[in-house]
Symmetry: C2
């Protein structure tokens, strides 16, 4: 693969290089293997460092490569399927939901959260922080917003903060009858506190999952979960995970 | 907001700048408004051009900004909610699914598609190309892979290609009894042909939705849909869309 061929294709150079590199990853590299450095790769493919960097960024976005300080660029393992949708609506914290309560705080909601909850901006809200661990790695961080009005039985004797308080809020929430829930998935970037928990830099691409829990009287709670976009594939369904050999690679799956 | 404050915060500069810019977008700009050029913005916030560019990239990732050649950087409208999950499994092409059949081709599958379908790599597959239009804009492109064995009634007298052929394949597929379906959502980058259809550059961030359609005899079809990540929010649910005032902004929703 020399310079000439890269220059004569109509698509952007970095995109063509990305395709060439993707094939090289399949054929010549193992998962976890460290790639040669940028200077060497740029020379090997006859491209400028900037072009190479763009191609590497693409492959990182697709989950094919991981770049870590002090380690370099390595070939990423296949993404992990994380079940998000289930057969029916269920409250956060019900058995087997995969989340661990970390902390709980009380305060007034931001304007956006108040709007999602359908409450006035001065109504008190419990915010439960949870994390989700898969294969020993934190794959998601969540803020669950529960208006005080949704957990009227929450007693003052319960722990004032920490995981015990979080569990008390979840327990009270589960006393309500859940009528339905809806979800939205979109691309976002990790906030500083989530980034820390997910072992990423602030601004790393994440998949944001917003879930609204609905009872007969309205929205009882709203969860905003931040999933690592580099390592996670969110699965929804009524018959198990979609099994994809290497789902990061659009090219091979889609074409 | 001067240089000093940006230098004394512990988070990366571009991340802090991103937060400051995000607030400025809320307060001082309208949707569709063109931002001042990079030189001017960098001077206004007392940062290097590289830092400014990183912050702008973040805000683009979050759907707050759009950057287009010849236009510049504009304030993006809120993302559009696109319903992906429904109350139950349904075949592609059933009434009201929002997709338009564009074309159909026959060939052998790639290794990844064959694996998803659970067929041998030399089995013929019909690949239906569809697009999804919302508010007059193409928001997604899809390749639906249907093994010839899933549509045994497809006749030679049907149109050999084009939208008519695609519709014939969908019609035959719908004769089967759908037992279930599962979905996976992950981050990807737009392939050249999808990018063209979505009016994006190759490599633009997209949300990849892989759907497997399951009958009593196995996987009858697999769809890989590519949604614009900048403008789309994928919604799943049993009670309508999750309404978020400006879902691109994690900060306000999650904190």
């Amino acid at each position: 693969m020399g310079t000439t061929q890269l220059e004569t294709v109509p698509e952007p150079k970095y995109w063509h290089l990305r395709t060439v590199l993707s094939e090289a990853l399949d054929q010549d590299f193992e998962v976890g293997e460290v790639l040669p450095n940028e200077r060497e790769l740029a020379a090997r493919f006859g491209v400028a460092r900037a072009t190479l960097r763009q191609a590497l960024e693409q492959l990182e976005l697709e989950g094919r490569l991981q770049r870590r300080r002090g380690v370099g660029t390595t070939v990423a393992p296949p993404r992990v399927g994380v079940a998000v949708g289930s057969t029916g609506p269920s409250w956060p914290g019900e058995a087997g939901d995969g989340w661990q309560a970390v902390d709980c705080a009380e305060g007034v909601p931001t304007a956006a959260v108040a709007k999602l909850l359908g409450i006035a901006a001065d109504q008190p809200v419990h915010t439960v922080r949870r994390t989700r661990v898969t294969h020993g790695q934190v794959v998601a961080a969540e803020l669950l917003h529960v208006p005080a009005a949704s957990v009227p039985g929450l007693s003052g004797i319960d722990a004032p903060s920490g995981p015990a308080r979080a569990r008390a809020v979840l327990r009270e929430l589960q006393r309500q009858t859940l009528e339905g829930q809806d979800r939205a998935v979109e691309l976002g970037s990790a906030r500083a506190d989530d980034a820390k928990e997910l072992d990423r830099l602030p601004g790393a691409p994440v998949l944001l999952v917003t879930t609204r829990y609905i009872t007969a009287t309205g929205t009882a709670a709203v969860a905003v979960a931040t999933y690592r976009a580099d390592t996670c594939r969110l699965t929804f369904g009524d018959s198990g995970d979609v099994e994809i050999s290497h789902p990061g690679d659009t090219e091979r799956v889609a074409s």
